[in-house]
Symmetry: C2
Subunit: 370 residues, 2 copies
């Protein structure tokens, strides 16, 4: 696995169970996954020589982020390595313009969009679709960075002047956000986890509710169908997370990710097969695991860093208060606002399960101000 963040770290838990020797390419031995993976190699994921050295002897190569240059992935495939997802698929999670073109082509509902490179383009787009306009960098967007919600062309001056490729998208007045996590293997087998509701704050996912409350029958199946269709049409191998807006008039696809995803952390305890095991199965071309829920309601709340870095000192209260809540701490340096872990609660009654998960996360975060 190229990259050694928390996604690789949690993948190691699944790899240990299956007896799979997981190797990671890390920037430093201090990274989240490097602390728990013996076969950690240091190198630069942007450097083809480093990638080639890293891949030697691997049965499959995959990623914990989308930043490996597409052309390097092709080179690894040309060398004979099994790389999942492959470059033709992954480019849709790397390049938002390519993604929008392709999704439009295969009939997946998207916001209105256009490539823009100067203020006049943004104004022309707004004339047709109205303000606000959402300007996005075509590459490198992640967790809200690289997205500018603009009330005027002036708000887009910074990215426009940076000269980076940009697209404009119509602002979608959504009722809530949903996500569908699917897996697809090189054999072509596909499975979908239940649709979840995601709650974002300041562009960061803070909460995931599985299954999405009140979404049943055909509406849930429609969302899963969109995600499975994208996986198949784009030739995704491994996991695909499809973030969607639920609007009054239906679903609109927002973003794609081709790796384990924050919207799937609940599956560790909440589904029969965790997303991390599922990703390993898919990239190794093994039959996929059951995505069935392990409890009627599962809620995951992200743990963001607070002012006091000593999270461990707060375990005692949280564990004593709720013996059933599951704590995940990524072994990362604690900085205010940084994703440093998550908590998961399982149960039957939504309000009760949400309250438990939020209480645990709030307590673990500790004081916000020093």
């Amino acid at each position: 696995m190229v990259g050694a963040g928390q996604l690789a770290r949690m993948t190691q838990q699944a790899a240990i169970a299956l007896g799979i020797d997981l190797r990671v390419l890390a920037n430093s031995r201090d990274e989240s996954a490097a602390k728990v993976i013996v076969d950690t190699r240091l190198g630069d994921y942007r450097d083809l020589a480093d990638l080639r050295e890293f891949a030697k002897g691997c049965a499959a190569v995959t990623f914990d982020h989308e930043h490996v240059p597409t052309e390097h992935i092709q080179d690894l495939i040309d060398d004979g390595y099994a790389v999942h997802p492959g470059p033709e698929a992954l480019v849709h999670a790397q390049d938002k313009a390519v993604m929008r073109e392709r999704l439009t082509e295969i009939g997946v509902p998207c916001p209105a969009w256009a490539r823009v490179s100067e203020a006049a383009d943004v104004e022309a787009f707004a004339e047709e679709h109205g303000w606000p306009v959402v300007v996005k960098s075509v590459r490198g967007g992640y967790d809200g960075r690289g997205v500018w919600v603009c009330s005027s062309a002036e708000d887009a001056r910074e990215p426009l002047e940076a000269g980076i490729p940009l697209i404009a998208e119509a602002f979608v007045p959504f009722e809530r956000e949903l996500a569908v996590l699917v897996a697809r293997s090189p054999h072509g087998q596909g499975v979908s986890y239940p649709v979840v509701e995601t709650v974002q704050k300041d562009g960061i996912c803070v909460e995931v509710i599985a299954p999405a409350p009140g979404l049943v029958g055909e509406d849930a199946a429609a969302a899963q169908h969109i995600a499975l269709k994208i996986a198949q049409e784009l030739g995704v191998t491994g996991l695909l997370a499809v973030e969607m807006f639920a609007t009054k008039t239906g679903l609109v696809v927002n973003e794609l990710a081709m790796r384990p995803h924050n919207s799937g952390h609940w599956t560790i305890e909440g589904a029969r097969t965790s997303q991390f095991e599922q990703h390993l199965r898919a990239v190794l071309n093994l039959p996929l695991g059951s995505p069935a829920l392990a409890a009627p309601v599962v809620v995951m709340v992200n743990l963001l860093g607070g002012a006091d870095p000593d999270v461990f000192s707060r375990y005692e209260h949280v564990m004593a208060n709720d013996p059933g809540v599951k704590i995940h701490f990524y072994g990362k340096e604690v900085r205010p606002g940084r994703k440093i872990g998550h908590v998961t609660a399982l149960g039957v009654e939504l309000a009760e399960v949400r309250a438990r998960a939020w209480h645990a996360a709030d307590c673990l975060k500790g004081p916000v101000d020093a």
Copy 2:
């Protein structure tokens, strides 16, 4: 954790979630846990200097086996380390004579027993309690080694001539075997997992059924009460597994183990808190986690090595046949009859869940003869 077998390996999965830096003392880098734990130290658990070097900087020291000399554990405590379980407790899992004396003293039902050192002792014991007589080495028994079921004193000649300390126990005509896994923290908090039924073959545990079929209400509570009482009276910190015989006239305690135990592997997916997380919580003096079942029926079947070591090649069939079965493979060299992993199935109907678990284990084992 002193020792680097599969118990330490599975403890690492729980340690990763909680952000706990797990260090192991291994005999070699090829051991099961050494392959997945970055902070692996090499050394001899029988050597006090190695243990002292290993313990430096550890918040707590614990074990994946019972073979560390009791006096060395006391030395580590005298050095100021938190060692769980402590030597006064652990000696009861190391020395069967000490265990029988103490359990008898606190009124826990045991088989009739006596220390024996020559053939005449065994014959005298048999005269009172009948044949067969179960002769056991006082120290070092593990998984059926060190136990001789004797129809005559002649059958005990080998251990008697070896001059090792022995006890004789009356053979218990049991209906089935049960096990109760409890945890106790230094604070004195105790929790019990549901009672399970264990199935042994040739002295090796092959199957665990949770909860024990047909054991309800006061009968289940009585078994849990015995285990919690032993934990408290012996001052156990960490996990305690109590193996019991269910007889027509009640429960009889067979063996004790003070560590994660084969009879608790089902808890990884089958309980809200896995035994490995529970052990970490207990030895770190954190509040204990919920032992609640995650499904109505959970069955674990041990995976023993067959003639063909390529277990991985059989994953495809097992995973395709049953997307819900959970495979655990310990990364150990495959040898015929050796415990190399386990599988767990969860569900509602006992016969169906057992069939699934056995099918998966049988398939993974592969051919018995080369």
